[in-house]
């Protein structure tokens, strides 16, 4: 499994042809307490860069973009009642949705951990 990042602070953990998407620890720190997560519906087909989900803090609403193209196959419904998971465990329990990756080539265009770390220095 490899994890890749977008410059917009989404991560995608690739497991075969499926990717698990959420926001990075850096992003959750910047946003503050997350109070609501609007998840996509399962079956939704997304193009890379499409608006996929929305996270809300008390002070702001931020769109989450699809890091790659594909179809949403599962969402983390735990977030509906426990949006704070995005703060406490953003890259594991706070994942948002799983996507069936349409074009594996798109993965290669994303940042690796070092590249992302450099961006957020």
């Amino acid at each position: 499994m490899t994890t890749k990042f977008t410059p917009d602070h989404e991560y995608i953990r690739v497991d075969g042809s499926t990717g698990i998407v959420g926001i990075t620890n850096y992003a959750q720190e910047q946003l503050g307490d997350i109070v609501f997560v609007e998840l996509p519906s399962v079956g939704k087909v997304l193009k890379k860069g499409d608006e996929a989900a929305v996270v809300e803090s008390v002070k702001a609403a931020s769109e989450i973009y699809a890091p790659v193209s594909g179809e949403v196959v599962e969402v983390n419904s735990l977030l509906t009642n426990e949006p704070g998971l995005v703060n406490s465990d953003p890259e594991n329990g706070g994942w948002m949705f799983k996507i069936a990756i349409k074009d594996a080539g798109e993965i290669d265009t994303l940042l690796d951990a070092d590249g992302y770390a450099e961006l957020t220095l």
Binding site: D8, H9, I23, G32, D33, V35, S57, Y65, P83
Partner: protein, 514 residues
């Protein structure tokens, strides 16, 4: 993701100790915790409904509505009121809100039965004085703005914006230019502007501001195209500056076949001194609850009449007043391109009465003096504080608002929010914070013309003292503030994560009636 970290931060701050309530301002339980379904503060006869016409639709479900007798109600609402700050009890320097004095003559006039006890659908022949009053208000608004028409009916500023932009859309459709789908909105705009444009199906295209806080006519020209329907520009703008190139911007917008919507939220700075019609605007709403002193009432009601240029006047909504052969008429239906009706009746009559009373009291000379005093007061605050605070846009004199950013707080551990909360402990309502969004940690201060020099001096002394304290590293006074208010900082995260939006009877509190 769109990393939107702008806006107001939250968090409860440092925990200190303070008792809830105080001797003269005790905590007050909820209405439902005091009253019950048997208490009532009205005496009404019980009637027999043997011969009812309810056709089986009578209520069967329980209301469970708590009541209070008159003395209980009086005490409940008086006690609650004392937990509020108000313009009558202290300075309320909220930028872009124009919290000025609310003369009580206005309240008295609005309550005359000839204004308050008339029905919007009673015969027009029986409300000629009301129509005349609306005509007089219209005359004042059109004269002060040098415009051709006014639509009185919008219920508030945002509603006026909606109507103004609807009129622009209708005008363009009438010209066969429905393909114009873009609206230009400067980044510093109030949130209602993009919300209104999007509501009508327009795509919002931001226009960047210059480093000096104003809009560059060249940036507008670059953004204009045959697809642009309008620009929505606030003038004076949300940074408190008069747009120096506003006439050139209007010209460029008109040359491109688009309209100029002016957000009139800040008209208080220029009433009687500058007429927006002379600047080339096509539509502008006027917040009667800001500029013309109708009280804010804890969040409304407002009123947002829209003045319209000659080009847009055919697209005004119904109803409107017109001179007929047998007196004044209320036009309630028209055929053609007009956009119809934006509210059930004639708008905020109660606010019209208050606003016209205010205008008559001031006269043209008094309104101009009020605008100039508002500008004088803001510049006085800026002059007295600029050596301690940071001014993001020093190139122009400010209009009716003084704007600071948070760079003076760098390295102090004190945020704009903390600073504002400390002001509460000194008896002042905080300024507007984190708006406009284009300024980091913005503090927008609008004193209005209502504050005396003495109050302004005291405010400036407090502000200066707080700035000095913050810079000296005494951060706890800020991070723990407010300590002296009826409540400490409130947990907004908790409120949003598990919303409790109504009272529910606790399991251990039985219904009194049962």
């Amino acid at each position: 993701m769109s990393m939107n970290t702008q806006g107001r931060p939250t968090g409860v701050g440092t925990v200190g100790t303070s008792a809830s309530g105080s001797a003269l301002i005790p905590d007050e339980p909820l209405l439902f915790e005091i009253g019950d379904t048997e208490h009532s503060g009205v005496d009404l006869p019980e009637v027999d409904l043997g011969n009812n016409r309810l056709g089986g639709f009578a209520r069967k479900s329980k209301l469970d509505l708590a009541g209070l007798t008159e003395p209980e109600a009086m005490r409940h609402y008086v006690r609650l009121s004392r937990l509020n700050h108000s313009i009558d009890s202290g300075m309320y320097p909220l930028g872009s809100c124009t919290m000025k004095h609310n003369p009580r003559l206005n309240e008295k006039m609005a309550r005359l039965p000839g204004f308050s006890d008339i029905h919007p659908l009673q015969p027009v022949s029986t409300v000629q004085g009301a129509l005349e009053m609306m005509n007089q208000l219209s005359h004042w608004l059109m004269t002060l703005t040098n415009t051709a028409a006014v639509a009185l009916s919008p219920k508030a500023g945002a509603h006026g914006e909606l109507l103004g932009m609807m009129a622009i859309k209708a005008a363009q459709e009438a010209k066969g230019e429905a393909h114009r789908t873009i609206v230009l909105v400067p980044e510093s705009a109030h949130g209602t502007n993009p919300a209104t444009a999007a509501f009508l199906g327009y795509t919002v295209k931001p226009v960047p501001a210059r480093d000096d806080g104003t809009v560059d006519v060249e940036a507008v020209k670059a953004a204009l195209s045959p697809e642009v329907a309008a620009i929505m520009l606030t003038n004076p703008n949300t940074c408190g500056l008069f747009e120096p190139q506003v006439i050139e911007i209007a010209q460029a917008v008109h040359d491109a076949g688009a309209f100029f919507y002016c957000d009139g939220a800040n008209f208080n700075a220029i009433m009687g001194v500058v007429r927006p019609g002379d600047l080339g605007i096509d539509a502008m709403h006027i917040n009667l609850h800001k500029t013309f002193s109708t009280p804010h009432g804890g969040g409304g009601p407002g009123a947002g009449p829209v003045v319209l240029s000659e080009a847009l006047s055919p697209f005004a909504p119904v109803p409107f007043v017109r001179q007929g052969s047998a007196g004044l008429e209320m036009v309630e239906h028209i055929e053609g391109e007009a956009l119809g009706r934006v509210t059930a009746f004639h708008g905020q009559m109660g606010m019209y009465v208050r606003a016209l009373t205010y205008m008559l009291s001031h006269g043209a000379d008094g309104l101009a003096q009020a605008a100039q005093d508002a500008v004088l007061n803001a510049n006085y605050i800026k002059a007295r504080l600029e050596h301690l605070f940071s001014v993001p846009f020093p190139d122009y004199p400010t209009m009716h608002e003084a704007l600071f950013d948070d760079s003076f707080l760098k390295e102090t551990g004190v945020t704009t929010l903390d600073f504002a909360k400390a002001l509460i402990d000194e008896g002042f309502h905080p300024m507007t914070m984190y708006f406009p969004l284009v300024v980091h940690g913005a503090m927008l201060i609008e004193p209005t013309e209502s504050e005396s020099k003495q109050t302004l001096d005291r405010f400036c002394d407090v502000m200066a003292e707080l700035a000095t304290e913050a810079k000296a590293g005494n951060s706890e006074r800020f991070t723990a503030a407010p300590m002296k208010a009826p409540r400490r900082r409130l947990d907004e995260t908790r409120a949003a994560r598990q919303p409790i939006l109504r009272w529910e009877r606790p399991a251990d509190l039985p219904k009194a009636a049962e």
